[in-house]
């Protein structure tokens, strides 16, 4: 909680200093079955229909996150591209809670975080500066209650706060966090914390190498304190040490049931 409060203050001071926001790439066309609605006897429109790419934002082909769009989220896996925990105590290495459908920004799947929940996306470094972009939709409408940090495996590389482009969400409820950060020399992690009072949807996280001519770094990068970054790194390291886990009890039960039952029935 102390951390959350710290970052609220930090990000509030940030103002609209977002620099080099990553260009938004759509997730595919969308449209609605809605009419203008409401006047002249037009029916009340109950829902819109959209076409999503079920593979997510595949336009970001050079995404340095394993599964920035959550479309490949596993069901039972112990080693997936994101980890989640109910708090910054990092007691758990769970899967991010799944949200699906139109509440997501792109594709079909995204992550849903209750208050204080944190997630960590695993990625790689590049020889270039990194364009960092992630979208979050806070139920309480406060972009600055969402904390986004880009950090690295190495202690010697600073963790950088990724600011929201504005304090309030856009009309569609989404907050965009974006920043150009210096090149990294070790594995890259994207940390998101829901410091708000309502649920938070997280989706379409993209880290791409900066393109030629884009390597102009913003001044005044906000460095996350080591007291914040160190436990996150430790969590990430614990998550990524080489291992083959025996299936947990639930998975063993499930697989045994599947084995002994005709799968087609």
């Amino acid at each position: 909680m102390k951390y959350a409060l710290f970052l609220i203050a930090a990000l509030a001071a940030c103002g609209d200093e977002a620099i080099n926001p990553v260009a938004l790439t759509g997730s595919g066309g969308s449209t609605a079955a809605s009419g203008a609605g409401g006047s002249g006897g037009a029916p009340v429109v109950k829902r819109r229909v959209e076409q999503r790419n079920p593979f997510g934002n595949v336009a970001a082909i050079d995404n340095l996150l394993w599964d920035g769009d959550f479309e490949w989220r596993a069901t039972f896996a112990s080693q997936y591209g994101w980890y989640a925990s109910p708090s910054t105590q990092f007691y758990e290495l769970g899967l991010p809670p799944l949200e699906m459908g139109a509440r997501c920004r792109s594709g079909i799947k995204c992550a849903r975080l209750d208050p204080q929940w944190v997630i960590l996306g695993l990625g790689v470094a590049s020889q270039h500066s990194l364009n960092v972009s992630v979208w979050a939709k806070p139920e309480d409408g406060m972009c600055n209650a969402v904390f986004v940090i880009l950090l690295s495996q190495s202690n010697s590389e600073s963790a950088v706060e990724v600011p929201a482009e504005s304090d309030a969400p856009a009309a569609d409820g989404w907050c965009h966090f974006a920043l150009l950060v210096p090149a990294r020399d070790s594995a890259t992690y994207l940390f998101v914390q829901n410091g708000g009072s309502g649920q938070l949807i997280v989706d379409d996280a993209v880290i791409t190498p900066a393109v030629e001519g884009q390597d102009v770094l913003p001044a005044g990068l906000r460095i996350a304190p080591e007291s914040v970054a160190a436990p996150i790194r430790a969590w990430a390291r614990a998550a990524t040490r080489p291992r083959i886990e025996p299936p947990n009890e639930e998975r063993l039960r499930f697989e045994e049931r599947m084995r002994t039952r005709k799968w087609t029935r």
Binding site: G28, G29, T31, A33, S34, G35, A42, P43, V45, K46, R47, R48, V49, E50, Q51, R52, N53, P54, F55, V58, I61, D62, N63, L64, W66, E71, W72, T75, A77, M100, G101, A102, R103, I108, L122, V124, A125, S126, Q127, Q153, N155, A187, R237, A238, T240, R241, P242, R243, I244, E245, P246, F254, R257, M258, T260, R261, K262, W263, T264, R265
Partner: protein, 689 residues
């Protein structure tokens, strides 16, 4: 507005995935061509329309759905809330009525919240000779602002005259339940009838089919819909980028990754779902990595027969006259057999050919179709393929040839006997575990000789062949899952064993012949008996830099070792409490991951430690990540490498035995475990004073 919706949908959705549409108010209009529509409204009878298989587990009998009345239904009336206990294997099934005659149908279904596994299934009476078929469902990409997602299946052939039932099966995969609405069955495609086939090379199954377990299988039923032409290239780009950026270490990236990328390139032109998804799966198989695999429903087709015996690589010294060894591949012997369903196989028999090829060459040739492919990273290691040989034969072979040998006379037949897989009697009972241990040596009741299921257990004690004065002890175990707990089950078992050995033994056999890996702390602990502490490797795993090919020279490797040497990503072996006088023989056979690290950590340190086995370990020196798509598809991919203190990139370079020992056929017949015997003989020359 309806027209707008449909027009734009055409841009992105696979054409066959289109179904119903929405009116101006956003209400759903079922596809007028549908032959059955289930909207869970007044026509739905929860009792009559629920399908309960005759062999349903009683635990799954309670109804786990409810009809919900609500304006948020697609048609503003009703939908179903399903909350099955998927972990208990429970699903719900809902019948649909199809017209008589042979036809083919695609199903669409809308789901909301939660996560489901859905499929359209047709079952036939046994006397029809037709097998149950099911088509898995995946998302079309159509979603609604109130949370509904459209799923669709590929075309399922149905004989409406013979079918016992056609139904939707739904597993709810999370704890909160899922809503489903408006199941539609739409005529699509043409009827296809499965027929018997004689192995994967039998052309009778045609381009759309694949022969598995002597039955043609329609490939598209086991995979999600084909990505539409508008997104297919982008999807392939993303798949290529993913493996290019994240996969592997030096050896696998340089040697194997290009082949996988080429296969992915080839599926851009795929015009049917099976070609696309099987090509995608094949690209993973070509990555040639112990940790890397793709799973899918095709992998789960029930076997028809049993081959209740285990194969491993050895030296067929008694049957060279009948069939000389292959110049490249080792001989394949029966290690041990179960009790029933062995098809006449017994320890010491030799598998000389499958479909006319050396068994390993044949198994390698299956990588175009075998979703259960499992191969070591090290190019010359085939223990994994050999261990799975019996399953591969049952799934894909037409025939196999065995030279039978006889324990009573200690000789072998002069020529092989060839068996047709299709002629094997039906039988789906359990099969004995394969652990590359033809015999155990701890005495009756002290080992799992009845079923060879070492699994996650530890067995230790004096070996029965040694005298009390020799005091040679053994530890038999296959897991290194320490889980980061120094006093956890695995680490404590290892520590207890080593304390016992230091107190009581004059020589030790560490029998790890089916080492299934675990965690690094387990591998580190396993080295504590034999050497003092030393930092021996750093993990650049998962891969730290996009598309990093690893060190090109040993000098570069040493630089990386120094640069990445931190307390959290290193392997430190040994213990200050090690026993320098204790001779230790480590037995390996099919070992990977943490079970690579363990022998790596003991090799070459001292003349008091020797590794015995037929071939190197897998060379799987990395970690991995796991992912899942719809339609039952999942995949696991290795990432990164390990750099040794002397600069070597280890992946793909298994730990070679110090003493290469192949199990002899003659020993198998005589009841001797050649590798164990070799270890025992060496220990006797080195016994601790």
């Amino acid at each position: 507005m309806l027209r707008v919706s449909v027009t734009l949908a055409l841009v992105l959705v696979t054409p066959q995935a289109l179904a119903g549409s929405f009116d101006e108010a956003g209400d759903y209009l079922p596809d007028p061509t549908a032959i059955a529509t289930v909207d869970f409204g007044s026509d739905f009878d929860p009792e009559e329309d629920r399908y309960v298989p005759a062999d349903l587990d009683p635990v799954c009998e309670p109804v786990s759905f409810q009809v919900v009345e609500g304006t948020d239904a697609l048609d503003r009336e009703h939908y179903l809330h399903v909350q099955t206990d998927a972990l208990a294997g429970c699903a719900e099934r809902f019948l649909v009525t199809v017209p008589p005659g042979k036809s083919s149908y695609r199903a669409t279904l809308w789901v909301r919240h939660g996560s489901v596994d859905a499929q359209l299934t047709v079952v036939y009476p046994e006397e029809s000779g037709l097998e149950t078929l099911a088509a898995k469902m995946g998302p079309t990409g159509r979603t609604t602002s109130d949370g509904w997602i459209e799923l669709a299946s590929n075309e399922l052939p149905v004989d409406g005259d013979l079918a016992d039932a056609v139904y939707l099966r739904v597993y709810d995969l999370d704890s909160v339940g899922s809503d489903i609405d408006t199941l539609e069955i739409i005529p699509a495609g043409s009827y296809w009838e499965a027929q018997s086939c004689a192995g994967v090379t039998d052309p009778v199954c045609g381009e759309a089919g694949i022969c598995v377990h002597n039955r043609c299988r329609l490939g598209r039923l086991y995979v999600p819909p084909l990505p539409g032409d508008d997104i297919k290239n982008d999807v392939v780009d993303a798949m290529q980028s993913l493996i290019q950026n994240f996969f592997g270490g030096r050896k696998t990236r340089l040697s194997d990754l290009p082949k996988a990328l080429d296969v992915l390139e080839s599926i851009r032109g795929a015009s049917d779902p099976w070609t696309f998804w099987n090509g995608w799966a094949r690209s993973f198989r070509l990555l040639h990595d112990w940790h890397t695999e793709v799973g899918g429903p095709i992998h789960g087709i029930e076997r028809r027969a049993r081959l209740n015996a285990c194969f491993f690589e050895g030296d067929a010294d008694l049957s060279q006259h009948a069939w000389p060894s292959h110049p490249q591949y080792k001989d394949v012997l029966v290690s041990h057999a179960g009790v029933e369903g062995t098809q006449g196989l017994a320890a010491g028999d030799r598998l000389v050919a499958v479909d006319g090829k050396h068994p390993i060459a044949w198994a390698l040739s299956l990588n175009t179709v075998n979703w259960d492919h499992w191969q070591a990273n090290d190019d010359g290691v085939y223990a994994e393929l050999t261990e799975r040989m019996r399953s591969l034969i049952l799934e894909f072979a037409t025939s196999y040839s065995v030279i039978h040998c006889h324990a009573a006379t200690l000789n072998c037949d002069p020529a092989p006997t060839t068996y047709k897989v299709a002629d094997l009697p039906s039988g789906t009972g359990n099969q004995v575990r394969c652990d590359n241990r033809p015999f155990y040596h701890l005495g009756p009741g002290l080992d799992p000789s009845a079923n060879h299921n070492v699994g996650f257990q530890f067995y230790r004690g004096p070996v029965i062949e040694a005298t009390p004065e020799e005091a040679i002890y053994a530890l038999v175990w296959d897991t290194l899952y320490g889980g980061g707990e120094p006093s956890g089950f695995v680490n404590q078992n290892l520590k207890d064993a080593f304390a016992d050995f230091k107190a009581n033994a004059r020589g030790v056999i560490l029998d790890h012949r089916a080492g299934s890996g675990g965690t690094l702390d387990g591998a580190e602990t396993a080295t504590e008996l034999v050497r003092p502490p030393q930092l021996v490797a750093v993990f650049m795993s998962p891969i730290p830099f996009a598309a990093f090919d690893g060190p090109a020279t040993l000098a570069e490797g040493v630089d990386l070792f120094q640069a990445f040497k931190t307390p959290y990503n290193t392997m430190t072996v040994g213990s200050t409490q090690y026993d320098p006088a204790m001779p230790v023989a480590v037995l390996i056979h099919r070992d990977g991951s943490a079970s690579d690290f363990f022998p790596f950590g003991v090799k070459g340190y001292s003349d008091k430690v020797k590794i015995f086995g037929p071939a190197p370990t897998a060379g799987a020196f990395s970690t991995y990540f796991q992912f899942r798509y719809w339609g039952g598809l999942s995949w696991r991919m290795a990432s990164g490498d390990t750099i040794s203190f002397d600069g070597r990139a280890l992946i793909g370079n298994g730990v070679a035995p110090d003493i290469v020992v192949l199990q002899k056929q003659s020993d198998l017949l005589a009841g001797k475990d050649t590798i164990h015997e070799a270890a025992l003989a060496w220990l006797r020359t080195e016994l601790k004073p």
